[in-house]
């Protein structure tokens, strides 16, 4: 992914960040991953609201929720907060 790190002459001064963290995948942190039961899910979107990692998206076109496992850290907040217990945390 990254080429050799730049020397002091080339690197942009003052330490301004030049990569978005959306290229830093934290998904490998998890031990458990969320699994959604589509029948129980009411699409209330609380999981999307509460996810600390913004790893649960509302896909407007599809009209459905999407879990981005590239960033999910497996904290289980979504499962804990889901009002219908539609999400279960399963071992990866």
């Amino acid at each position: 992914m990254s080429s050799k790190d730049k020397g002091w002459k080339e690197v942009s001064p003052a330490g301004v960040c030049w990569k978005s963290s959306s290229t830093y995948l934290t998904g490998d942190w998890k031990t458990y991953k969320p699994v959604r039961d589509l029948e129980k899910c009411t699409k209330c979107l609380l999981c999307s609201i509460f996810c600390p990692d913004a790893a649960i998206h509302w896909n407007k076109e599809k009209g459905d929720i999407e879990f981005d496992l590239n960033f999910c850290k497996g904290c289980g907040i979504c499962a804990n907060e889901c009002p219908t217990k539609a999400i279960l945390m399963k071992i990866e």
Partner: protein, 334 residues
């Protein structure tokens, strides 16, 4: 002045979860906060309340470090960090520069909001001077305190925001001392005493209340302060999956009541108002304390009297708040 965003007006609370979910993320995935940390949720939701161009500044702390590890950044807005004490001083400088540069025609004549984020370290303690000064000078910005009740970033050391009885690495619970022996500094009340336009408390569980208040804080002309509770599973020794639930329990036990002070006039927010009107709903503090390892020692014979002290102090604070909100009642646990 409330600004309509699409078909909803955030500061009036007229929005749905879908409206929020469809707003672009300004605090991006890929940050290195611990799994289950409530603070990123707080930041994400606050940023959803923004109404246009926004500049953010952070004090040193968990959120700053975890979101800006060079060369990566999780911030989609312009963002500045300088030091630990300086969130409010930075905001003062940014707001002032925007004002004069606009006046001189050196930048676009558009409104740019300024938000300062800091933890309890950067607010209760080392940052309080800058905060107090910035508020006294009346700079137009929103200051958000994300409170995880200790200096978590440096390893869970006690802060002025650490509650009574909590075990931290510098207020350890041992055979001679039962954790922190001092009370939590009433930071939000201190800010109200500054006679500032808007002060509010919020928790991530009551997300709608939080976002509404953030929008109000952004819109208000002058300084606004939000004290937001941000449970930390690592430092509190609690379940990562329960961080949001803990923030709800904090409200239900009245350990962290929800209120706003608009020009010094206190008013209870709905989740706490419900408890005020139906005192049987008020949960005993034990329910909140027993799921956190940092209070474990309070459930031993040697220190269990402190549980009573915590309950009494909580009730005392709750009653005092009710009086300020014009809802004086006795609050007894069910």
């Amino acid at each position: 002045m409330a600004v309509s965003q699409g078909n909803f007006v955030i500061s009036e609370g007229k929005f749905t979860a879908k409206d929020i979910a469809e707003k672009p993320e300004l605090f991006l995935s890929g940050h290195r906060a611990c799994a289950g940390c409530a603070a990123p949720t707080v930041l994400r939701l606050i940023m959803k309340a923004t109404r246009g161009p926004t500049i953010v500044t952070n004090a040193t702390g968990c959120m700053e470090v975890s979101s800006t590890i060079y060369p990566y950044t999780s911030w989609a807005t312009p963002w500045l960090h300088t030091a630990f004490e300086t969130a409010a001083a930075n905001a003062s400088g940014i707001e002032t520069a925007l004002k004069i540069l606009r006046k001189k025609g050196r930048i676009k004549d558009e409104r740019v909001d300024v938000i300062a984020f800091a933890g309890d370290g950067g607010t209760f303690d080392i940052g309080i001077q800058a905060l107090s000064g910035a508020v006294e000078r009346g700079h137009d910005f929103l200051y958000v305190l994300y409170d995880n009740e200790a200096y978590m970033n440096t390893g869970i050391q006690r802060s002025g925001g650490t509650p009574l009885g909590a075990s931290t690495t510098t207020s350890q619970a041992g055979s001679a001392v039962p954790g922190k022996t001092e009370h939590k500094k009433p930071i939000a009340d201190i800010m109200v005493a500054h006679e500032m336009p808007y002060v509010a408390t919020a928790v991530p569980y009551y997300w709608k209340d939080l976002i509404t208040k953030a929008a109000k804080g952004i819109e208000v002309d002058g300084p606004a302060f939000m004290h937001v509770f941000a449970p930390c599973p690592r430092g509190w020794r609690s379940e990562p999956s329960k961080s949001i639930e803990l923030s709800r329990l904090a409200v239900e036990t009245c350990i962290f009541p929800l209120w706003e002070a608009v020009n010094g006039e206190y008013q209870l927010s709905i989740p706490s108002k419900v408890i005020a009107l139906a005192p049987q709903k008020k949960k005993p503090v034990k329910e909140y304390l027993q799921v956190q390892g940092r209070f474990r020692h309070l459930f031993t014979p040697k220190y269990e009297k402190i549980l009573d002290t915590i309950q009494q102090q909580t009730d005392k604070n709750w009653n005092r708040l009710l009086k300020k909100c014009g809802m004086a009642q006795t609050a007894k646990t069910a």
